[in-house]
Symmetry: C2
Subunit: 419 residues, 2 copies
Amino acid sequence: MARIVMKFGGTSMAGMERIRKVAARVKHEVERGNEVAVVVSAMAGETDRLVGFCKEASPLYDEAEYDVVVAAGEQVTSGLLAMTLKAIGVDARSWLGWQLPIRTSETHSKARIEEIETSALLAAMASGQVAVIPGFQGQMADGRVSTLGRGGSDTSAVAVAAAIKADRCDIYTDVDGVYTTDPRIVSRARKLDMVTYEEMLELASVGSKVLQTRSVALAMKENVRVQVLSSFEEPGDDPEPGTMIVSEQEIEESDMERQLITGIAHDKNEAKIVLTKVPDRPGIVAAIFGPLADASINVDMIIQNVGHSGIVTDVTFTVPRADVARSVDILETEKEKIGFESIITDVEVAKISVVGVGMRSHAGVAATMFKTLADRGINIEAISTSEIKVSVIIDEDETELAVRVLHSAYGLDAEQPVA
Amino acid sequence: MARIVMKFGGTSMAGMERIRKVAARVKHEVERGNEVAVVVSAMAGETDRLVGFCKEASPLYDEAEYDVVVAAGEQVTSGLLAMTLKAIGVDARSWLGWQLPIRTSETHSKARIEEIETSALLAAMASGQVAVIPGFQGQMADGRVSTLGRGGSDTSAVAVAAAIKADRCDIYTDVDGVYTTDPRIVSRARKLDMVTYEEMLELASVGSKVLQTRSVALAMKENVRVQVLSSFEEPGDDPEPGTMIVSEQEIEESDMERQLITGIAHDKNEAKIVLTKVPDRPGIVAAIFGPLADASINVDMIIQNVGHSGIVTDVTFTVPRADVARSVDILETEKEKIGFESIITDVEVAKISVVGVGMRSHAGVAATMFKTLADRGINIEAISTSEIKVSVIIDEDETELAVRVLHSAYGLDAEQPVA
């Protein structure tokens, strides 16, 4: 017997026909003798509908009431799944955020889970009852409803799994696992059996949006074994294994033939900004990036070029595309203080990253990347590296080409193309 | 300063444009120096949508989970109204059923309100904050969500008004008050300034569905002054007074020129059933109506005709049209036990009622009714009377004619037709 958390997203909960399939899938796990808690999202489109009402009420809507409104979406699906389970003979009940409760921080619309009260939940599960828990919602110390921010249901599922010490947290999604790269670009992309939390974090942060970054970070912190798998298989079958997200240690123990590189990610949501002829003096970095941070603009890569004259330098960095205009406005206001000559922006760039825990112990990963891209005439505009990742900025038009040649160069191509 | 409960139905809450009008109306009451609690329904159509999901989940859905699902509709509108009020500068917050809490009986999907905890609510209202309360929902002793049954929001409003000892409970509807009869039938119908609880109960139970019968009964028991008024006026104006529903004593004190008859109601939702040649022996009534009551069939009028031979008799009664087939089935099963000869059903009948507290002290009300109908050749198929009501069953085709001639006969016609 295992204790399992199953999480189903909005696409899986969109309408009663799909909810019935989810119920059948849950029943299958129960019949295998497992204790099961299910975390559900709102029906696809429902949260957008509710957020739309709030925005219509006022662009500066009250966030405490926003939480009351949008939490209703998951309340509905948790009730519907529980009643569907009962209708097919599986004992079940819904546990709303305030009923457990799931205690959160005091920040409406982007609360963090602090503690989940599990005594009633565990007793119910031990008696064979499936617990159905709405994702995304919780309760603050003052008794009011809170929500975790968009995509928070993955985080709810991992938090529940940590709280009840689940053997596994299965996240059912519209993909059947984590791939070495986007299969829409590389038909010979391979599904990974296992990936480490750290790799998943890097992959998530560079555009492989299988899981919310926050939920992966929480899983790593709490050491929750997370499995990503497909919600589209027929519920009667034993599901095809997805991708397990686990600790590096667990991978080392189980996976002898591990690749050097785990995956290639790409991200077209960034833009490049260059400040030319910035005086090379102490405090200049703070003068540039302080005001951007104050405006909550998330600066990713930063490269300080060597100045041509020895006393001035170009500073290149990337920001989300949506924030380019705002970033330029802020920097123009600070122009005198910073003392740069001009601002050059380029939104037609892409970030390509190779990710892998293996590169820690192997030299030459970055060199292979640079040589592979150079051989195909792809110009590298910026480089940044972390312990398990090398990222480069290139021209957006060359994204797919770069991903394909790198996927081959690191030996990731499968023998057969993806069906 | 007065303490007021305002209740808005689903039509008034259908979409942000209408919710903004409701907010403006609430603001107007606040600016007049009143303490205000608002009880809201779900958006028109939303409860049907949610109930539809439940029925799709299973015809025999779990009622505890049904309550979780359908309570979401009012949760959404209470959050939206509270944030809309804040956006126009009126301090407000939503109080969900479990947050007050509104304690109910242990019967999911048709709970009764037992107690409303008011200390936090009254403190908030005293500080000038408008309390927005979702109608229809409450919490059971075991902490689970309950709902009051369809149309329960009127009952929620009256219960809140009773609990906080409100000076008035204003129910905003799509009509501007209670009329002497249906203005679609009689253009000279008059809006009543006042009506007693008892009269309103009789009018509601015979087809004038302005308010849920349950909410009127609760208002009578708790002596809550209820006003029915239109939600369609512009919020800036002082609203046109609607109809006050009050105690008989209050009417006697204020309304010198009270009519003998308050209104004429009609109801096409009943059907007539006649059992012929029923043996006239003790216990026969129980033999007929016991099985129908066991099947929750609501028998309204019962007339036992004098038997022709002295030992057998015809029994005539009315049931809701929707229950005719089921009633006949049940009676056929009991045929030997009861010993009747045949069952005659007639669904093309209407019930016409004249209602008025005044008839208590005046003879001749029923006689006027019978003569008026006879003069126009309308045949009376059955009669029943209560202290403040006389009802007759007639051919459905003559409904409008009967209502018009009675409205004139009792002097209820207004000088000018309704606009």
